[in-house]
C-alpha cells in the first residue's frame, strides 16, 4: 500500500503493508535508524517517537493507522526548544552508558516536559516507567530531566 507520511516536517512516500509497524518503516524503508528496536511489544520504549506531540511506541503503531499525523523522531528533536534543552542536559551529566535506549528516553522526556514543564521525581518516574535502560542510568535520567526543566537538582533519588 502506498502511504504519504509526515515525518520530521517532510512528506515521505512509502509502499508497505498497512500492518507494518511505523518503527520498521522508519528504520528499513526511510533509513531513520535513530529510533531503536528493543522488544517489538511496546515493553521497553526504545522505539518511542512523537505522534502529534504524544510519545508513542512506534513498534506498536501500524503504518496504516498513522494517517496525516505529524511524526517526529530523535533525528529532529534537537530542532525543538525542549528537545535541545534535553540533549544539552543529557550531555552535561553524561547520562548514558551504552546509549542504545537514550533516543527513546529523550523522546519520552520531551513529551513529559511538553505536558509538565516542572515535573517532580514521581511525575518523572511515572512518565519514564515505560522506557527501559538496561545499563541502569536512571538516577541520571531523573537529574537530566530536572536540569532541562531548569529546576534545582533534588537531593535524594537523583545523581
Amino acid at each position: 500500500m502506498p502511504y504519504r507520511l509526515n515525518i520530521n516536517g517532510t512528506v515521505r512516500r512509502v509502499a508497505v503493508p498497512p500492518d507494518m509497524p511505523l518503527l520498521w518503516v522508519l528504520r528499513d524503508e526511510l533509513g531513520l535508524v535513530g529510533t531503536k528496536y528493543g522488544c517489538g511489544k511496546g515493553l521497553c520504549g526504545a522505539c518511542t517517537v512523537h505522534v502529534d506531540g504524544a510519545a508513542r511506541r512506534s513498534c506498536q503503531l501500524p503504518v496504516g493507522s498513522v494517517g496525516h499525523a505529524k511524526i517526529y523522531t530523535i533525528e529532529h528533536i534537537g530542532g525543538t526548544e525542549i528537545g535541545a534543552r534535553l540533549q544539552q542536559a543529557w550531555l552535561k551529566i553524561d547520562v548514558m552508558q551504552c546509549g542504545y535506549c537514550q533516543a527513546g528516553q529523550i523522546m519520552s522526556a520531551c513529551a513529559l516536559l511538553g505536558q509538565t514543564p516542572q515535573p517532580n521525581i514521581d511525575q518523572i518516574d511515572s512518565a519514564m516507567a515505560g522506557n527501559i535502560c538496561r545499563c541502569g542510568c536512571y538516577n541520571r535520567i531523573r537529574s537530566a530531566i530536572r536540569i532541562a526543566a531548569g529546576m534545582e537538582e533534588e537531593t535524594g533519588r537523583v545523581g
Binding site: K36, Y100, C135
Partner: protein
Amino acid sequence: MSDENTAAGPSRRTVLKASLLAGGGLALDALIPLPAGVLDAMEGKTAAPAQLSAFVSIAPDGTVTIVSKNPEIGQGVKTSLPMMVADELDCDWSQVRIAQADVDQKRYGEQSAGGSTATPKNWLPMRQTGAAARAMLLQAAAMKWRVDAGELSTARGRIFHRATGRSVSYGEVASVAATVVPPDLETVPLKEPGQFTIIGRSLVGIDSARIVEGQPIFGVDTRLPGMLYAVYEVAPAHGGRLVSADIKAAKLAPGVKHVVPIIGNGDADTGLADGVAIVASNWWLANQARSKLAVDWDLSAAKGHSSSVYRAKADAAIAAGAGTDLRLDGDPAATLASSAQRISARYDYPFIAHATIEPQNCTARYKKGRLEIWAPSQTPQRGLGTLHDALGIAPDAVTLHLTRAGGGFGRRLMNDYMVQVAAIAKAIPGVAIQLLWSREDDIRRDYYRPGGWHSFEAGIDANGDLVAFSDHFVTFGDGKTPARAAGFNVTMPPAGLIPHLHYTQSMLPTVVTTGALRAPGSNALCFASQSFLDEVALAAGTDLPKLMLSLLGERREIAAPDNRSPSFDTGRARDVVEKVVQTSTWTQKPTERGRAKGFAFYFSHRGYFAEVVEASVSGRDVTVHKVWVAGDVGGQIVNPMGAENQVRGAVIDGLAQALTGQAIEFIDGAVQQSNFDDFPLARIPMTPEIDIAWVKSDKPPTGLGEPALPPVIPALTNAIFAATGTRIRSLPVRVKTA
C-alpha cells in the same frame, strides 16, 4: 610515510615506531609487551595477548588523533583509555579526536572487552606512549631553538622555553618530531598523580553527542547499498538439530527474497547452530514470514533438560554428600563435629539472561571469497577463529569493522550471531545482509548465567568465632570440567581467613549454552556466601561487618592458591568495610518497623567493594530506599563521571536480578521466557538513591565494569532478613507473607 625510526626498548619485544604522517606531522605506534604473569592474572581463561598497542598521531594543525582499538559496549573505554594517552602527552582534551580501529591482530594485538581488564592493562602503556610522544615533541622544539630539552616545559599542547619567552604548538614541530629517535618507554618520565590535567576529570563520553542526536553508530544502524535484512530461525529447544524444512510458503511471503536452510557444524555452543534464514527487503517482513516456515527439528537431545529435573538432580547430589574436592584446609569435619554451634543452610539461584537492550545482530557481505563484517562484539578476534572453524573462511579473508554495542554484560563475548550472518552472506554472495535477532530470539538463545546450588555448613566455637566452613556446590558441567562460567572460585571468603575449610563440587550435564554475565561467578557466589555468612554472624551474636573485620584480621596480602590470580589485600578489604559502615551509619537493628539495612562485601575483578542496602518490606513488596557503596579500585579514578555511572549501573543491575523476578526456566530444553514481560528488567521507579565513596588506596587503578555488582544482592537479601526475619535463600527474591 617517508621517514621512520625504530628504537628497540629495554625489552626485546617493545617496539616504538615513529613515522611522518602523510600530510605532515608525527605518528607514533607503540607495541608493548606486558610483563609475564600480569596477563595471566587478569581473569584469564582467554588466550593471553602478546602485547598491547597504542597509536597516537599529531597533525600540523595540532589535532591529536588517538586510536581506540577495544570494543565500546557502554563501559566507557573509548573515552578513558585515550584520556591516559592525552594526559601524559600534555595536550588539551579539546584537541583530541578518537578513531575507532578495525580488527587487526597483527597491528593492534588483543582487541576485546571483558573482565574489567582494560584499565589495569592499559594504565602504564597508554601513559608511556603519550609521554614518549611528548618527549619527541620536546626534542624537536629543542632542535629548532638549539636549546637543551631540559629547559623546556609543556602545557595544553604547547611547548614553552621560559628563558626566552618563546613557545610553539605541538603541530608546528610534529613533522620534525617524526625524525627524532623515540625514547625508552620504560624510563620515559611520567607525571606524578598531582600533575594530571585530564586523568581524574569528569569527561563526557566521546560518542555521547552523537547518541543524543540519534546518529547511526550501533551495530543495527549499519546501512549498506542494496542491503537485505535477515532473521535466523533456530530449534525451539537447546541442543535441537534441523531435520528438514518446507520453505515454499515462506518464500512467497511479502518482501521475502531468500529462504536458506543452514546445517551448522554440530557445535551450537561455539560454532554455527542449525537454522533457517529468511532474508527480506525489510526486517519486519522477514520476521513475519517465520510463521510460514514448516521445520522438522530433532529435539531428542533436549529431553529431560528441564528446570524441575535439574532441581531434583541437585537435591539428590546434595543428599548424596560432598562431590569432588576443590579446596581442603585443615580438618573441617572434626572441627565442625566439635563446634559449640553448627549451622547449615542451602542457597540457590536460577539461570538468567543478559538481555542487552540492543538485540544480537551483525552485518556481513561475502564477495569473491572475501568477507566483510560489521560487528558489535566484545571479542571480535575470537569471532575470526569461529568463522574459520565453522565456515572455513580464513582470518586473512575477513575485514572486520567494530561498531558500538548496545550493551555487552558478557553476552557479546560469544560470536554466534557473527557466524550466523557470515553463513547467510556466504549463501547469498554479493549482497549485504543484516541479521537481527528478535527479542524472543535473544532471550531464548543466550549464553545464560548458569543456575547453581550451595549446601553450606559452619562451625562456631565457644568464643563465638567462626572456625570451620564448608560448601558443597552443585553446578553444571560434563563431570570433569564445569560448563562455561559455571566454575567455583576457591578464594571465596572465608577461604584463607579461617583454618578449617572444605569446598566441594558436583556437576549436572546440560545442553543449555552458558556463559559469562557481568562479574561472572562472583555475581552468584557472593549472594550465596555473604548471605550465609550473615546467618553465621547473627548466630555468633555479632553482625556481618564485624564478622568480616574479625575474619580479615591484620592487614596483609594473601596470595591466590594458583599464584596467578590477583592476591587479596585484607587491608584494602578492611578499609572499604569500615568506610561503608561509616557512610551508611550502619546498624543491624531495623531503622523502623519493616525497614532495615543489610551489608555485604566482595572482592572481584581486582576491585574491593562493601555495600549497604536499606530496604523495607510491605506484604510481598520490597522497596529499596538507598544504597551505600564503598569501593577501592586504586588510587586514581580515571574518569569519575564514567566510573560513577558504572557503579550505579552495577547496583541497579544487581537489584534487578534479585527483585524483578528474573529467571530463565526450561522444559525439555525449551526456554519458557521470551521478552521483557516475563523476563523483566529494572525500571526507573525502583531506582534508589546511590551513595558512592571511593577509598583511594595507593595502588594502580583497576576496572569497574563488574566488581560493584556482586555485594548489592546479598546486601539486599540481608536487609530483607533484618527487616522481616525472612531469610532469602533463593533468587529471585520472593517474600512470603504470613
